[in-house]
């Protein structure tokens, strides 16, 4: 079932075209990876999907209706966003931060049930017993997982479809935690959630994503099942030498070996500077 669909989304900011007629869709039970070089428009796309940014033209539909037409609280029970940067002002406890995810529900996060949900999700993201800890004293990776737990808490309810939007969910995590977080997300996806994740690590995307959208300078360079993404596309978009191989367990690995020779000189920052 189609959960989220964009059609010809264009975003122009300060004269620059950040997204140019981007069309994509994600269904229930699918994890869509959004990959692309820096400045390709990945985060911009995620902000459009999150209803934070209104496209200049084109449309975004969630659950069959334009995103704008959804009642905010009802939307918030079906769609959660984990952003790239996060901060919490004030000395909140970890449990309180997670329970903020329950804000759209009638209990507002204060009910006993909400405490139980928060404790369970903290254990699931690998932070069991962290409820009473001060959020500010956690490491960056721990904070990121607290926010993942908060986003998951937001979707703990009966209404469907569910959509998770993740902007580089593993950016502050060590390799093992990256896998743990993505397999947690992937478990939700198997349970019927739709998910869109901006990812930098192609091997990580290959292991967990079902589909991929490759963005390049605001355009969709490729849109395919993750398994059929080929070396030529990645080489052209990222301008790196890359090999697609199989790892020990048979999962696809992307080996990036270095910048490719066809680098466009005019694109190089500070071209000609000493």
């Amino acid at each position: 079932m189609m959960v989220l669909r964009t059609e010809n989304v264009t975003v122009v900011r300060g004269g620059a075209t950040l997204l140019d007629r981007v069309s994509m869709e994600v269904s229930a039970g699918r994890l869509l990876a959004v990959v692309g070089p820096n400045g390709a428009g990945k985060s911009t796309l995620l902000r459009v999907l999150a209803n934070e940014l209104t496209p200049c033209s084109g449309s975004v539909h969630f659950d069959g209706f334009p995103l704008k037409d959804h009642e905010p609280r009802s939307l918030a029970r079906r769609r959660a966003v984990l952003r790239q940067r996060f901060s919490v002002s004030g000395d909140f406890r970890v449990g309180e931060v997670v329970r903020l995810g329950r804000t759209p529900y009638p209990s507002g996060g204060h009910a006993r049930e909400d405490h139980a949900i928060a404790d369970r999700l903290l254990a699931e993201v690998g932070l069991p017993g962290f409820t009473g800890r001060s959020y500010a004293t956690l490491s960056g990776g721990e904070q990121q997982r607290v926010h993942l737990a908060r986003a998951l808490a937001q979707l703990e309810g009966p209404v469907t479809p569910k959509l998770l939007l993740l902007d580089e969910p593993s950016s502050s995590l060590d390799p093992r935690q990256q896998h743990e977080v993505l397999s947690l997300v992937s478990k939700r996806v198997r349970a019927g959630y739709a998910a869109v994740a901006v990812l930098h690590d192609l091997s990580l995307a290959a292991r967990y994503a079902d589909d991929v959208v490759v963005l390049c300078r605001g355009n969709v360079a490729a849109k395919a099942p993750m398994a059929s993404l080929d070396e030529a596309t990645i080489r052209a978009v990222f301008r790196v030498e890359v090999t697609k191989t199989a790892g020990r367990d048979g999962a696809t690995q992307w080996l990036v070996e270095g910048p490719s020779e066809d680098r466009d000189a005019s694109e190089r920052p500070h071209a000609g500077a000493p």
């Binding site: 209803n51 009802s74 939307l75 769609r79 952003r83 996060f86 309180e96 804000t103």
Partner: protein, 339 residues
């Protein structure tokens, strides 16, 4: 410290503070006088069994003063806590919106151009109008549709404050000596003019603010994550902000109107509440309302007893009382963090 202990502590403090405030003052009364006067008022003792002077002092002077202190302090405390949440800035306080200086300018205009401070209604009315007007002007600079932009609101507030400050300065400059004294006295803040009538007139806006601000607590908690994150959670950020500003302007405008500008309460009491009860706005706003009310009653009790029968400006006492306590708590917390 966890909320339960804080609650016991605050309740005990409240009993002592309210009792003391009713007992002490320019006229000597003992706790027994107060008790028997109280018994007579509620009908437990026959009329005339107590010195009627004591009943009058208690009923017409001290009780309205204590009630005014509680409500004004509560409005200032809750407004400070809410605004710190709105601006995501621990240094925010109600004066940022221009409401205090706007109210002061309104009062100054009445005092200097009108009949002076003597009139019962004109000064508070001028102050209330000035406070609301100033906030309105500051918000106008920040308005887009139904929402408010934080940075523009701060800058708008700065512009309004600068103008009001200059206008007050000009009024002090042109005022006659006696009006200058009235004006200076008013600008220092005092609960001395409290009567049931005055409190009655201000009770509605004060009450609306005190009851309304805690209702924004959950939205302000979500806002602690950031604006985009709060709207991800279904919060209409702009509207919450506008509601907070309106409620603060109402409450603080009314507070300044009946007691003059009293600094410090709105800035520091929320921090005390946070240190005692945690970051959640439900606790911070309600705690600041209770704490603000208590701080004002205690400060007022001291203000009218230290130099009896004269009175100190209450703003002087709130700062002398609160600043060292606040500093002590900060030091303690820093140590706890380092350890």
């Amino acid at each position: 410290m966890r909320p339960r202990w804080s609650f016991v502590l605050v309740a005990a403090l409240a009993l002592v503070a309210l009792g003391t405030s009713l007992v002490v003052g320019a006229v000597d009364t003992s706790p027994r006088d107060v008790m028997s006067a109280f018994a007579e008022v509620v009908g437990l003792a026959p009329p005339g069994s107590t010195d009627s002077r004591h009943v009058a002092v208690l009923l017409d002077i001290r009780a309205p003063r204590v009630a005014t202190g509680l409500l004004v302090g509560a409005a200032l405390g809750a407004a400070g806590a809410a605004l710190q949440g709105v601006f995501r800035n621990p240094l925010a306080d109600p004066s940022l919106l221009g409401v205090s200086l706007g109210a002061s300018l309104g009062a100054a205009l009445v005092i200097v151009l009108g009949q002076g401070i003597g009139s019962l209604w004109a000064t508070p009315a001028g102050a209330f109008a000035g406070g609301l007007g100033a906030t309105l002007l500051a918000s106008l600079a920040a308005q887009s549709g139904r929402s408010l932009d934080t940075v523009s609101l701060l800058l708008g507030g700065i512009a309004v404050q600068a103008f009001c400050g200059a206008a007050i300065g000009l009024l002090i400059y042109v005022a006659s000596d006696s009006k200058q004294r009235d004006l200076t006295f008013w600008l220092l803040g005092s609960l001395g003019g409290s009567t049931w009538h005055r409190l009655g007139a201000a009770a509605l806006p004060l009450g609306v603010a005190i009851v309304g601000l805690p209702r924004l607590a959950r939205s302000l908690d979500a806002l602690a994550l950031g604006e985009a994150e709060a709207s991800d959670l279904g919060i209409a950020v702009g509207r919450v902000r506008a509601a907070a500003v309106i409620l603060c302007a109402l409450g603080v405008g009314a507070a300044v109107a009946i007691s003059g500008p009293i600094g410090f309460v709105g800035l520091v009491v929320p921090h005390l509440a946070r240190i005692l009860g945690g970051a959640s706005h439900r606790i911070t706003i309600v705690g600041s309302a209770i704490g603000g009310g208590l701080l004002l009653v205690i400060a007022d009790t001291l203000a009218r007893t230290i130099v009896k029968p004269a009175e100190l400006p209450i703003g002087v006492v709130t700062a002398f009382l609160g600043a060292p306590f606040f500093y002590f708590l900060l030091l303690r917390r820093r140590r706890a963090e380092v350890a």
